[in-house]
């Protein structure tokens, strides 16, 4: 029922019903016979069959450790892993495959940078008030360790970065400017190329958190002209357990090693060791092999659909959702309300009902959303909000699912006996 809406919005992915068939979980029936309406994709995306199949094929037919193994399975596994690196390099339009480092998730990628970029007293790091905790706490800890100062861009009332004091914030002592491309709470799309250029002008490195951008926008590291960029596998149709750190090759090779262990070395004696170049320098230990294979299949899948088409779909659904949400009495959207200027995560408040309670009632109707601070407490605090409810769509979301959300919100209001 939720997928059969007669509505045909311009911009939707062609053959959306066929695309949905790629995702086995979308056929899941929940308790009480409710069909699944999954609107929590900014939290984690669902996985298409090709990704699952690529992983299963690897585990059932090609599993072996990589690099170190010289036998046939080892060669196959190594080739599959390194091919995944090639696919990610293409996905990001990286100059070289050596610029792609596989990490555990976006959080590890950010912490890798916060641990290896040299900072000291007198230096400063500039972030923003709309960052995910991963791009806040990592730098707080780095500043505590090093004595550097942490600064941040504030936010305007309408959910944008406040750049009015940018010249004072980013100064000659700035070593790092780290910011999100798309906010996971407000949906705001930031002017990343400008921010990266500002960092460069000040002699600082730019770090872009593309965790929410990579799923839905064309991410071209050469076009943005940034220094480092991270994203996480599980939000781009890939599995958990894998993330990506991209960095300019010469910068990566200037960083000291992160973890010590197998595969990151050149040679080891008990007294001292020397280290390999990027990417291996930063991939100590057995990497997430089958996860890389899954991620490779995922970005290839996105490439086949076309990121432009995915983005258009996201905008169409987001616009439709903003319209629908506006019809719910007492509902306030946090962040920009122009669908063409924002990502697909929409956080909102509903007068008189706590987000936990909203999410709970929605769940009883099969509608899956997130409630809480979405790992963005400071951005919530900025707007005087303790927690919010967030719906987030993805390439498989239908207008009918948005209808189901809006109906379920109406039901929530009546369940908690709110007048209209």
């Amino acid at each position: 029922m939720t997928t059969s809406s007669g509505l045909r919005l311009p911009g939707l992915l062609p053959e959306l019903e066929v695309v949905r068939k790629d995702f086995p979980i979308l056929e899941r029936v929940l308790a009480g016979g409710q069909p699944l309406v999954y609107l929590d994709s900014a939290n984690t995306s669902q996985k298409p069959q090709v990704v699952i199949d690529a992983m299963v094929d690897h585990l059932e037919r090609h599993n072996a450790n990589i690099a170190r193994a010289m036998h046939q399975l080892g060669a196959e596994s190594t080739a599959a892993f390194e091919e995944a690196r090639d696919k990610v390099a293409r996905f990001l339009n990286a100059r070289s495959r050596n610029e792609v480092i596989f990490t555990k998730n976006a959080t590890e990628a950010l912490n890798l940078l916060a641990r290896t970029i040299e900072l000291g007293p007198g230096d400063n790091v500039v972030i923003t008030e709309m960052e995910h905790h991963s791009n806040i706490v990592s730098w707080q800890l780095a500043c505590e360790r090093s004595g550097a100062e942490l600064r941040w861009f504030g936010l305007t009332d309408d959910g944008q970065l406040d750049l009015s004091n940018a010249d004072q914030l980013v100064d000659d002592n700035t070593k790092v400017v780290a910011f999100t491309w798309v906010s996971n709470m407000l949906g705001t799309i930031n002017p990343v190329a400008d921010l990266a250029a500002r960092a460069k002008a000040a002699g600082a490195v730019s770090v872009i958190d593309a965790s929410q951008a990579a799923p839905q926008l064309v991410v071209d590291v050469q076009a943005v002209v940034c220094d480092f960029l991270v994203f996480t596998g599980h939000k781009v149709c890939g599995p958990t357990g894998i993330g990506v750190l991209w960095g300019r090759e010469e910068l990566l090779n200037e960083l000291p090693p992160f973890h010590g262990g197998g595969e990151m070395i050149e040679t080891v004696t008990m007294a001292r060791s020397t280290y390999a170049k990027a990417p291996h320098r930063f991939e100590a230990g057995t990497p997430p092999i089958v996860e890389a294979v899954g991620l490779g299949a995922a970005v290839e899948y996105l490439g086949h659909l076309g990121l432009d088409a995915v983005h258009a779909h996201e905008q169409a659904i987001t616009g439709y959702a903003l319209e629908g949400l506006a019809t719910v009495p007492g509902l306030t959207v946090l962040g920009p309300t122009d669908a063409t200027q924002r990502g697909g995560a929409i956080s909102f408040e509903l007068d008189g009902v706590h987000p936990h309670d909203i999410a709970q009632v929605l769940d009883s109707r099969g509608v899956a959303v997130r409630a809480g601070h979405h790992c963005a407490k400071p951005a919530h605090a900025r707007y005087g909000v303790q927690s919010s409810t967030r719906m987030s769509s993805y390439l498989y979301t239908t207008p009918g699912e948005i209808d189901a959300l809006v109906e379920a919100l109406e039901y929530t209001r009546s369940y908690f006996k709110l007048g209209s």
């Binding site: 009480g32 706590h354 936990h356 309670d357 709970q360 009883s364 809480g372 601070h373 927690s387 369940y415």
Partner: protein, 150 residues
């Protein structure tokens, strides 16, 4: 979860306490104050205890949170204020056991009174933390106040 589950969770008693919480507000007489947070959702409670001669004289609190967490603070107030600390701690234990029982523990109405309405919450692991927020804060504060050393 189904519509029936929803009704089992949001019992009338809970919604009543949510709308009209008992004992809410921070009052001046207290020996210990604590601040607890539910890290997942950011819900918070600031809670003060006033203990005298081994008796819970007052529990006062300011809380931001969902219906379950608000109602459970209200029920806590009803159940422990006026009781000897030792007895209040036993009630605490009983409520904890109910919440952590995954829906298998039969609540004792003699002891838990209105709190038996929380039996339905125990089936929702994500909400158990909400129900326990103020209870955990109370125990913490009471121990700090020297009211109990267990």
């Amino acid at each position: 979860m189904t519509a029936q589950d929803l009704d089992a969770l949001y019992q009338e008693i809970i919604l009543d306490h949510y709308k009209n919480p008992h004992g809410k507000g921070l009052r001046e007489e207290f020996e210990a104050e604590v601040h607890h947070v539910n890290p997942t959702c950011g819900d918070e409670v600031t809670l003060r205890v006033h203990v005298a001669d081994g008796v819970v004289e007052d529990v006062s609190y300011a809380a931001v949170g969902c219906s379950i967490s608000q109602a459970s603070a209200s029920v806590l107030y009803d159940l422990v204020v006026g009781k000897p600390v030792a007895e209040a701690m036993e009630i605490h234990e009983e409520f904890l056991a109910l919440m952590q029982g995954k829906g298998t523990v039969e609540p004792d109405e003699e002891v838990l009174e209105d709190a038996i309405a929380f039996a339905g919450v125990a089936k929702f692991p994500a909400r158990v933390k909400c129900a326990l927020l103020s209870w955990m804060a109370w125990k913490d504060a009471t121990v700090q106040a020297g009211g109990s050393n267990d």
